[in-house]
């Protein structure tokens, strides 16, 4: 493959910083506590990536004249942006060295995916000219990012469980998963509901069982089941560790459902009939 001249744009700069952040974070977790410098480098790279990412977002907003939230490229870039912001907040609150690696990897994957998408700033389609859309996408992307972090904590729960058995760490990650899911769930709900209001204003129906709508419901149900089990299954005859494992598995599945809803619905046989799926 031939490489063209490297363009220095906010997009490529963010991409590069996230990559550096991911590699540093990998070094930091591999070397353990000895590699404090590497961990700081990872945070710095993610921070710098986040800054230029913000520039990218604002630049497209100013040039396009509307918040760049629709279209596959902008949706992926905006998700990546809320992810880095939520990651920043989460790290300030609950320092977890591993997150820098996972978030870095997801950022790199998202940017690689976006690089292959059409980034032309297009005039907004008539359907998308709505304030509800802005609320809808904001609520959803923040919720998705929170659920992504919840999923990473669930992965960490499994990681520690398989290597060290039940420990202080597994209990910590188990409780972190719950805190993120509980914080993200209302936002996920607001996302669905504002989407319904928007659909009702545009098409005259608040719910039409479009595959995108249906999968967003499936995702919501997964987290609703998680929360119900979390609240009510303590008295059931399940060993506590089994229960935690089941709950964290649900949090993991929930994020997989999010990815399906967000990016992979185009591979379903019924996608051609959908009004809403990115093709």
């Amino acid at each position: 493959m031939t490489l063209g001249p490297l363009n220095i744009t906010p997009f490529t700069v963010s991409f590069a910083f996230y990559f550096v952040g991911m590699v540093s974070a990998l070094g930091a977790v591999a070397l353990g506590r000895r590699a404090r410098a590497l961990l700081i480098a990872a945070y710095a790279a993610h921070g710098a990536g986040g800054l230029s990412h913000t520039v990218l977002f604002l630049q497209r907003w100013i040039i396009g004249g509307y918040p760049p939230l629709s279209g596959l490229f902008d949706a992926v870039v905006f998700f990546a942006w809320t992810l880095i912001v939520v990651f920043g907040v989460a790290e300030v609150l609950f320092r977890t060295r591993w997150l820098a690696l996972f978030v870095g990897a997801l950022e790199v994957a998202l940017f690689a995916y976006a690089a292959d998408c059409d980034s032309t700033l297009q005039p907004l389609m008539p359907v998308l000219k709505s304030t509800w859309l802005v609320i809808h996408v904001f609520a959803y992307m923040i919720a998705y990012s929170i659920m992504a972090i919840a999923c990473f904590n669930a992965v960490l729960f499994y990681g520690y469980l398989n290597t060290q058995g039940e420990s202080e760490q597994t209990r910590r990650f188990d409780s972190l998963v719950y805190r993120f899911v509980a914080f993200g769930f209302p936002l996920l709900t607001v996302g669905i509901l504002t989407g319904a209001v928007w659909a009702n204003r545009t098409w005259g129906r608040y719910w039409g069982w479009d595959i995108k709508e249906t999968w967003s419901l499936i995702t919501w149900i997964a987290y609703a089941v998680y929360l119900h089990l979390r609240f009510w299954s303590r008295t059931w005859a399940i060993p506590p560790l089994r229960r935690s494992a089941l709950l964290n598995w649900l949090a993991l599945m929930g994020f997989l459902f999010i990815l399906v809803t967000f990016l992979f619905l185009k591979y379903l046989p019924s996608a051609q009939m959908s009004k809403h799926v990115y093709l």
């Binding site: 493959m1 031939t2 063209g4 363009n7 690089a115 292959d116 059409d118 980034s119 032309t120 700033l121 297009q122 005039p123 389609m125 008539p126 359907v127 000219k129 709505s130 509980a182 914080f183 769930f185 209302p186 709900t189 607001v190 509901l193 319904a196 209001v197 928007w198 009702n200 204003r201 545009t202 098409w203 005259g204 129906r205 608040y206 719910w207 069982w209 595959i211 249906t214 999968w215 419901l217 499936i218 149900i221 997964a222 609703a224 089941v225 119900h228 089990l229 609240f231 009510w232 299954s233 059931w236 619905l265 185009k266 379903l268 046989p269 019924s270 009939m273 093709l279």
Partner: protein, 637 residues
Amino acid sequence: MIFSPRQILQGNHPVVRFFASVKLTVTLLILIGLACILGTLIPQADTLAGSPRDIYSLYVNAYGPRLHILFNILGFYRLYSSWWFSALLLLLALNMIVCSLRRFRLQARQIGFQLTHLSIVFLLAGVLIGLNAREGFIQINEGEQSDTILFVPRKPVPDTAEEAEQLTNEQRSGAARTAVELRLPFAIHLDDFELRRHTAPLDKLLVQSVHGGRIYSYGLRTQKRIPRAARQPVEIVLLDTKPLIRRTSQIVERTSGPLEPALEIEIVHDGHRHTHWVFARGTARRRILTDECEIEYVRAATPVELAALLAEQSVPTTATADCLALIRSMTDVTTLPLALGREQTVQDADGTSLAVTVLQFFPHWNMNLQTREIYSASNARRNPAIQVRLRKGDAAETQWLFSRLPSAHGRQPFDLTTMTLQFLETDMRRPHFLRAVAADTTTGRYLQHYVEGRLAATLPAAGDSPASATLPDGTQVRALRWVERSAIELIEQPDPGGFAARLRIRDLASGKVEILDAVSNEVYERGNVRFLLQRDFPVDQYISRVRVVQNGREVTSHTIEMNDPLKFAGYTVYQSSYDTEAGEASRYSVLSVKRDPGVALVYAGFVLLTAGLIIVFYINPWMQKRKHAEALAARTE
């Protein structure tokens, strides 16, 4: 045993305990979730286009005849409105109600829980009321009004092939009602429909594998280098773009030069006006004007010559076949029969040999503007067109030629030849035949109108108005301009609807590099890759300006746009569609009308659900934290 409601809800009755259990909630949620996944894997009948036969064959090909009948009985093709899915939702609602009532305490920290679960009941109640919602479509022409909405009934899913045939035939013959009409308590008057486009064009390169699949789209304004096209081993680099020059031909009058008499004909039909040329010499002497009418131009220098010409040519019986005319000059014309798919070799104007193939014939040429798919809209000769491929050595090009719109070619003339190509259509006998006659330059210019081969009228020019004939369908044919020394002149003008681009295409497997001068909106194929440079003017807004009329009086008016429906008397009227073939010129608008009294309840449910979840997950934990902190502070004191 009789229980009071309170006893039932708080007691230990096994039925109550079953309906109040969280295990039931979780089971129902999981079942609903699984059903939803199933519903997205099986294409739902109401989203499918086509006849019952098409729907039947789609399902049978996918699942086989036995499984198909089972799926149909289980309602899998209309899963979300199947009895068992509704039953799951109702059970969930019951579960919510019993849970809420059983756990009801007058406590502040109970509010969130109660609101959240009550909201689901509101939602489901709204949905149940919404099942009786009225929804339909109303199509109104500009300047007209209507109060009739059309419902499209559900599509039946046939169990067997015989049933599919029967239903399809019933629909074809009109025996089965495909739509139901309903009167509104008011009428909607459409003043105007407007499809507003952005003035700035949007240029793109669309790339797809020749095997189909995802269409990759790249912007052309921002980046010059297109990423490795669609993971195919072809690299496309945009070198340069240029405005597209459209070449059209025009007939001009010269003061000197050879005598090439020509007549410009104007046709006014149904408010539309267009012009044609007929020539006294060569094959262009005769031309089909409409489905009903043909014209011929006869030019003679003297009355004697005219008499001889007219005697020689009786009223034509149009027996010759359609042909492709290759015109070198007015007098040097070669005609080829329309042998579809057969390559015919002719001598080009410069003496080289030119291979001509007629690829396709469409009696009613049409293009879907969205997909750019070309098709024949009917079997009637409404807009006959042929697709012609020219080949000279390695170079080849393909064009559409239209017999009734000879100047409307995409890019005329061909690049490979200086000859003008025309599709001449002569195989239909038309009841009306006009003959434009010019005996000399000053007198004797008139039209002869033949009906079914008999001379019906001779129509000379009257004063300032030109000779004109009126056909029974209201079409007016006028002899607009008689030109003695005509010549074809090429006009080149920029075409803002398209653009030309120079591309460098590298086959990464072989390393072969090709420079391609491509034009927009044409599909090219290289290796395994198919691509198209697209110029599009994206839609800015769909606008229907309407007035509501009740008892003959205008009650209110509204400008309906996407996201801005008209609301009146419990009905909501949305912009839905328009004449997509006409695009901007659409003379009608399709509005969807909905009356759903359940929406208020559903929205109430939305508000309650949001409020409940905020209380449960944000406010309650915060209060608890504060209480803990206070307790801790009290203990340390």
